[in-house]
């Protein structure tokens, strides 16, 4: 029961063409930059994985992380709530050229769909988006006199997650607001891959402070000096 892997390349093995890939983080907070860049490295070396569907709140910023995946040509479609950022060029250019797909999902619905995917709830009703263009084509129903939209669960073949602390069994904590979508995605993916700032032995994380139990985690790799998206942006880094 040791889920640690030796390096980033081993961590991202098995992510293949056409997969649905969830990526944790909200903007740069919680973005697993090093895992993403390891996946880009593999693509550059082997031409795979491509045609990915990427699920994230956003659609990349600058020329790093998800934006660099888009620039590299690995992404067929983005599922997100807010495909804008300080520098959204990577997505915007391809979107306006019709070269990348977009499924726009209200943020709370996105979170709840992912949570439902992890929790075995195939569908649920939410008031969000009722009566709007975003709800077009979706079933609606009335409960207690109010109208709701039916939404389906969202699952992934793999998830890339950034944690603060991990034990070797995959129990995780997150740093401040960096948890955002990550605990949900860890549960909704078949293959959950975690970069942690610090890997410790089982028992070193207080069981009451575990945010993501190890049952949701498949691989853990230590990335001690993980880069923050905002810092890379200011340094003008372009990865693709």
């Amino acid at each position: 029961m040791d889920k640690t892997v030796p390096d980033l390349a081993a961590a991202v093995a098995g992510i293949e063409d056409g997969m649905v890939l969830m990526v944790g983080g909200f903007g740069g907070s919680g973005a697993p930059i090093e895992l993403i860049h390891a996946l880009i490295d593999r693509f550059k070396a082997t031409g795979s994985p491509k045609n990915l569907t990427v699920v994230n709140n956003n659609a990349g910023n600058g020329r790093i992380g998800i934006a660099a995946m888009i620039d590299a040509g690995m992404v067929a479609k983005i599922v997100c709530s807010f495909p804008r950022s300080a520098d959204p060029r990577a997505f915007t250019e391809k979107y306006l050229a019709g070269e990348i797909g977009l499924e726009l999902v209200p943020q709370g619905t996105l979170a709840e769909r992912i949570r439902a995917g992890g929790a075995g709830i195939p569908a649920f009703y939410t008031p969000a988006s009722f009566g709007t263009d975003v709800a077009k084509g979706k079933p609606v129903a009335e409960f207690d006199g109010k109208s709701y939209v039916q939404e389906r669960w969202l699952k992934a073949d793999a998830a890339l997650i950034k944690a603060e602390m991990a034990d070797t069994m995959g129990n995780l904590t997150y740093r401040k607001a960096a948890r955002n979508f990550s605990p949900l995605m860890a549960a909704a993916a078949k293959l959950t891959i975690v970069q942690a700032t610090n890997i410790v032995a089982p028992g070193e994380i207080d069981p009451e402070q575990v945010v993501t139990p190890g049952i949701f985690v498949n691989r853990v790799v230590e990335v001690a000096g993980a880069k923050q998206e905002e810092a890379l942006m200011r340094d003008g880094v372009a990865y693709a």
């Binding site: 903007g27 907070s29 807010f82 979170a111 008031p127 009566g131 709007t132 955002n180």
Partner: protein, 223 residues
């Protein structure tokens, strides 16, 4: 109609209606300004969609922690008694009716409470964020807005023409000229600039104003 409230004054007016201890979500951009104008002696608890309750002002430049941001991706600080939680729990708070107030910006707001604040039409890249969730569940959904567009067209309208964010969700509008409640599918005028007549206000409003017996003066300090 030479006079109108500045954005800061609109935000100030909206802040006067936030009770001590209220849980509040302020939309990205202009609505964030409301936090600055909490009346003395009152402490609202601010919620941000990405999983923080009870955050405070931006840190000094250079002291940002980029794991500690708000829904607008701006660096924030914490107040004592803050809490972190994941996105599903965060929107559970929103949809579940736990917020006392959500204050949003808008392109258009209609007399039936419909709100259009996420898209100006089919061109460009659409982006909705948390707005479609925020308009449901908060006990009070208010908008703050200039009363008219830059071209002088009414933003308070009979029916929205832009893509909707939510149906029948707004209960109060704080504009640059007036405070208006939405009740029974009508705009009910609560306060207006004292320098302005009801007729002048009606002329720049896209739906009929219901006039109660008592209409207050909308007065904001220089802020």
């Amino acid at each position: 109609m030479s006079q109108k409230l500045s954005n800061a004054q609109i935000a100030w007016r909206a802040a006067q209606d936030i009770a001590d201890g209220a849980y509040v979500n302020l939309g990205i951009g202009f609505p964030e300004m409301v936090a600055k104008f909490q009346p003395p002696g009152r402490q609202a608890i601010f919620h941000t969609e990405n999983g923080v309750l009870n955050f405070g002002e931006a840190p000094p430049a250079g002291e940002e922690d980029w794991d500690l941001i708000n829904a607008g991706k701006k660096a924030i600080t914490l107040k004592p008694g803050a809490a972190f939680f994941h996105h599903a729990d965060s929107f559970g708070m929103v949809r579940g009716g736990h917020l006392d107030v959500a204050i949003l910006g808008t392109y258009e707001v209609a007399e039936n409470g419909d709100l259009a604040n996420w898209s100006t039409g089919p061109k460009g890249v659409p982006a909705v964020g948390g707005a479609m969730d925020l308009v449901h569940g908060a006990k009070r959904v208010a908008v703050i807005t200039d009363h008219v567009t830059k071209d002088g067209k009414p933003k308070l309208v009979k029916r929205c023409t832009l893509p909707l964010t939510g149906v029948g969700c707004v209960t109060r509008v704080y504009s640059s000229l007036a405070v208006i409640d939405i009740e029974g599918g009508r705009f009910v005028l609560r306060e207006k600039l004292p320098s302005m007549s009801v007729e002048e206000l009606q002329a720049v409003t896209g739906a009929e104003l219901v006039l109660p017996d008592m209409i207050g003066d909308l007065i904001a300090p220089e802020v």
